[in-house]
């Protein structure tokens, strides 16, 4: 059903998919982690402000 026989094109096709997967994974992780980090910082700053005053 699926054709995975790359033959002589293997050294080109699989690295292309691997790099794509890697970059996409990195983008997803970076975006989520970054957003989470700043969310925590914003909430911490809000709490600190509320606590201080």
């Amino acid at each position: 059903m699926f054709d995975f026989d790359a033959g002589k094109y293997g050294p080109y096709v699989w690295p292309a998919y691997a790099i794509t997967a890697l970059v996409i994974a990195a983008l997803v992780l970076d975006s989520l982690m970054r957003a989470r980090r700043w969310r925590r910082a914003a909430e911490a700053a809000a709490n600190d402000g509320a606590g201080a005053s």
Partner: protein, 240 residues
């Protein structure tokens, strides 16, 4: 349209809270479907198995342009309306655009080697335009990084984005013109005269998957920007 409604940061945060995961889920489903269609497609008569690279190269190249257009649009709004959310959107799009442009270049190179016999073809207008586009993204990121003050960075980077956007079609035109002189090697044009459905289907689905993925990640990054500004603003207020 929707944009004025979203311009309010609170409303944007409420919207993106459900929209981002939704787009993400759609992206995952489309990606799965796209990959299924991809690897059920038979090898091409000319390119052989290398045709499978087309399904991740063309969407990346398309997104590199689309994201730059989004970057330009957001920059224009930021410049004209001095809107912080617009600037956040521009800033958030840039790394995504740069990454996907790099992917387009790398996959393009890996596609080119077995099909055209060369890792790089200077004669191809699209490849060269994408390379210059990558340099535009780098310049944007470098300028953004060099200015610490958010208020100052916004107009500067927005101006640069717009200058780049205006120049992009000119760059493409100039490379196309140049190529018309230097015949060079025959360049495989994606799909040729008419792409068969077995190739068109995975290509479109993957294209939509990349779009949905961009939508999700862009929203996530803009949310991060909003929180960043809130955190900084609150820190300033506390100190003051």
């Amino acid at each position: 349209m929707m944009i004025p409604a979203l311009a309010n940061p609170e409303r944007f945060m409420a919207f993106s809270r459900w929209a981002a995961p939704l787009f993400g889920a759609i992206a995952v489903v489309l990606l799965a479907a796209g990959l299924v269609l991809d690897f059920r497609a038979p090898p091409d008569y000319q390119q052989g198995y290398a045709v499978h690279i087309m399904f991740i190269h063309v969407p990346a190249a398309w997104m590199s342009l689309f994201i730059y257009a989004c970057l330009g649009g957001a920059s224009l709004l930021s410049l004209v309306f001095r809107h912080a959310l617009a600037q956040a959107a521009a800033r958030a799009a840039a790394p995504l655009g740069a990454a996907v442009t790099l992917l387009a270049l790398i996959t393009g190179s890996l596609w080119g080697k077995p099909t055209w016999g060369a890792w790089w073809v200077w004669g191809d207008p699209r490849l060269t335009s994408v390379l210059v586009l990558f340099l535009f993204y780098l310049a944007y990121l470098a300028l953004d990084a060099s200015i610490e003050d958010d208020a100052r960075a916004a107009p500067a980077t927005s101006i640069l984005a717009l200058v780049g956007l205006i120049n992009l079609p000119i760059v493409h035109f100039s490379v196309t013109w140049w190529r018309s002189l230097h015949q060079g090697s025959s360049v495989f044009r994606a799909g040729g005269p008419a792409m068969p459905a077995t190739y068109l289907a995975p290509l479109l689905v993957m294209g939509l998957a990349y779009m949905a993925g961009f939508g999700a990640l862009w929203l996530v990054r803009i949310r991060g920007e909003v929180w960043r500004r809130r955190a900084l603003a609150r820190a300033v207020r506390r100190a003051g």
